[in-house]
Amino acid sequence: MKILFFAGLREALGLSSEDLSLPPGMTTVGELRAFLATRGEPWTALASTKNLRFAVNQTMVGADAPLTDDDEVAFFPPVTGG
């Protein structure tokens, strides 16, 4: 799967995207977030970002949205366009 990071989170991680095989047993975007956050610094930003938002296949979803290994997942702070 492809994972994307944007804005302040992208800067905190020093990374805009990552290709990853969905770890076994991981079924939701919330679980993926928790998994990535356990990698230690700077990945704790995934846990500490306030009101972190999730998108799966370019649609905003809740933390309980299901995942497959073909999905494009994105993590980002609340949007501030317009």
């Binding site: 944007f6 302040g8 009101n51 994105a74 980002f76 609340p78 949007v79 501030t80 366009g81």
Partner: protein, 155 residues
Amino acid sequence: MMVVIRVQEPDFDVGAEVAGLSAGRDDVGAIASFVGLVRADKASSDSAVQVMTLEHYPGMTEKALGDIVEQAQTRWQLLGVRVIHRVGRLVPGDRIVFVAVSASHRGDAFAACEFIMDYLKTRAPFWKKEESEQGGRWVDARETDDTAAARWERP
């Protein structure tokens, strides 16, 4: 419904975009439009904003804007919609965003234009970073934007 959605670095021509919504037709009675601009006094810090950088999520942005416009179409009687959002480096006074809605009647045009702006603010994947003398800072989401968007969810 004539829908135009563009995400682009260059500026846009407000007069041409508004005119495009009624060109060659005689059924448009109302065009409501909105232009958002970079303000110098918007900084979370005390110093004036010098540069504003707009980042977005290519692909999802167009999809999210398309979904918002579709929702507007189901709520109001519309003839056309244009949404343009700039990305990249902007300075105070620059236009950031443009939304225009054409309809037979002004009530539909006004409501849909404000709805699209309110949803864009809370649902389209754009992020602003402000640079002032005190350095760069990602703009915080505003609670008033959530409140504005929530108005439209009333039954």
